[in-house]
Amino acid sequence: MSGIPSNERRRPDRAALVIAPVLFAIAALIWWDAGRLAEMSNYSRIGPATVPHVVAIGLALLAVWTGFEAWRGDFPEREPIEVKPVVFIVAGLAGQMLLLKTAGFSIATGALFALTAFGFGRRKLWISLPIGIAFSFVVYIIFGRFLQLSLPAGPLEHLFF
């Protein structure tokens, strides 16, 4: 499977080719959603659905253009990426999100801190986790206690306050 015959160096960029249908799906979603809006009588003649329709058309056209460029292989070359560190950091963010209400700010954010460091190669969790929790607890004291930001409290925070 070769690309445009005149340019043997460039081949269809398959990963980039996926972007086109994604953009098209977003355009279709916006178009569909705008369709169920009630056009209420108003004096501006531009209703709530006008702008979403324009955005949807724009995205659909861009989807076609993207498909074309991806087929010609016009996207910049990509460096290979390492997936593992990304997974750890995403796990950290998801963990913080899920732990926040039950474990409180310090423990949840400490977990995020440790997992991020882990993703970047600091594998000693028994060091980074306590550091992260302690650091987050200090942040909690400054922002949650003294500056009155409403940060969720958990067992650790209740122990002290």
Binding site: A38, M40, S41, N42, Y43, F135, V138, V139, I141, I142, R145, F146, L147, Q148, S150, F161
Partner: protein, 326 residues
């Protein structure tokens, strides 16, 4: 250069320094919270200010040892309300601040949780809607505005807050009372009273409608003409007739209230009622009302519940007339 551990310590030290600096600037007592007040809006807004003022009074008057305010913003307060009702059933220490805006937001957002799912305690304060025109406008009175509205509703543009909010509802009620189709009003929504004020001052629109506080300084300076106010009777210190005096039966109060959790026993409700009554009657609360320019419209118990029911019914009917609720 390998100095990793030392640098990390440095950053940590810097933050400890910051901590002690701030700690020194404001030494706050850290006690267990007795009441937790949910402010269903972001920091700085009206509900947040009400919640934090109530917090100050409850603490300073020693009604409650320590009070915590938690912000749960979003969707006209309905997100905070939904979270409050589902998480605090039977909890006598949880309070939520809310207001008339919530009544409309519950209807337009089709919120599954309504004010029937909480225990209303008392109305604390309120603000009346003011109708203003630019000082240079040919419109002198409410009668002039109604005449113009009847002649050509499209030619009368109203600037106010978001569609479906208190300002829009009031404009709709005025049109309806004047015998004009409420769907025909040319209501131009702005993100808030401030932005609407700029449009009125710049002569971009015919009239403006918003809480009196938004316009007060301009009215006193003579750059805006106040033609009517939405109270039932004239208000001390506000030099304008009521809409009612002009023959249109429209009374709107943008009130703020405090409510408790659902599922409380009668004794628990009585206890909360007593605490709030004590706070609302304190001099500290009255001072706050004065500095913030809030009207004291304290109303508790069954009288408040009755008023609430009336407001909800009237709001639902006008939102249907405007076409925002089906």
């Amino acid at each position: 250069m390998r100095a990793k551990p030392r640098l990390t310590e440095d950053t940590l030290l810097k933050h400890f320094f910051l901590a002690s600096l701030i700690a020194g600037a404001m030494a706050l007592p850290a006690l267990a919270a007795d009441y937790t007040i949910i402010a269903p809006a972001g920091p700085g807004g009206g509900w947040d200010q009400t919640a934090r003022s109530l917090q100050t009074v409850l603490q300073d008057e020693k009604i409650s040892g320590s009070v915590q305010v938690v912000n749960v913003p979003g969707a006209g307060g309905t997100i905070g309300l939904a979270q409050f009702a589902s998480q605090n059933s039977g909890n006598p220490n949880a309070l939520i601040v809310g207001g008339y805006v919530m009544v409309g937001a519950i209807l337009t957002n089709q919120s599954p949780v309504t004010l029937n799912d909480v225990t209303p305690i008392a109305r604390l304060t309120g603000e009346y809607e003011a109708i203003v025109v630019p000082a240079a406008s040919p419109i002198q009175t409410m009668d002039d505005l109604v005449t113009a509205l009847k002649a050509d509703p499209g030619a009368v543009s109203w600037a106010g807050g978001s569609a479906g909010g208190t300002d829009h509802i009031t404009a709709g009620l005025i049109a309806k009372a004047a015998g004009v189709d409420p769907t025909k009003i040319n209501y131009v929504a702005y993100s808030g009273g401030g932005e609407a004020l700029a449009a009125i001052l710049g002569n971009q629109v015919t009239a403006g409608i918003s809480g009196y506080g938004e316009f007060e300084a301009q009215v006193k300076a003579g750059t805006l003409r106040l033609i009517a106010i939405s109270s039932a009777e004239r208000v001390d210190g506000i030099d304008a007739p009521t809409i009612k005096e002009g023959g249109l039966d429209v009374v709107v109060e943008n009130w703020r209230m405090v409510a408790a959790a659902p599922g409380l026993s009668a004794e628990q409700v009585t206890a909360i009622n007593a605490d709030i009554e004590k706070a609302a009657n304190s001099d500290a609360w009255k001072d706050i009302l004065k500095t913030k320019g809030w009207q004291n419209t304290y109303l508790a118990g069954d009288a408040f519940k009755e008023q609430l029911g009336k407001d909800i019914a009237a709001t639902e009917s006008i939102l249907k007339d405007i076409g925002l609720v089906k």
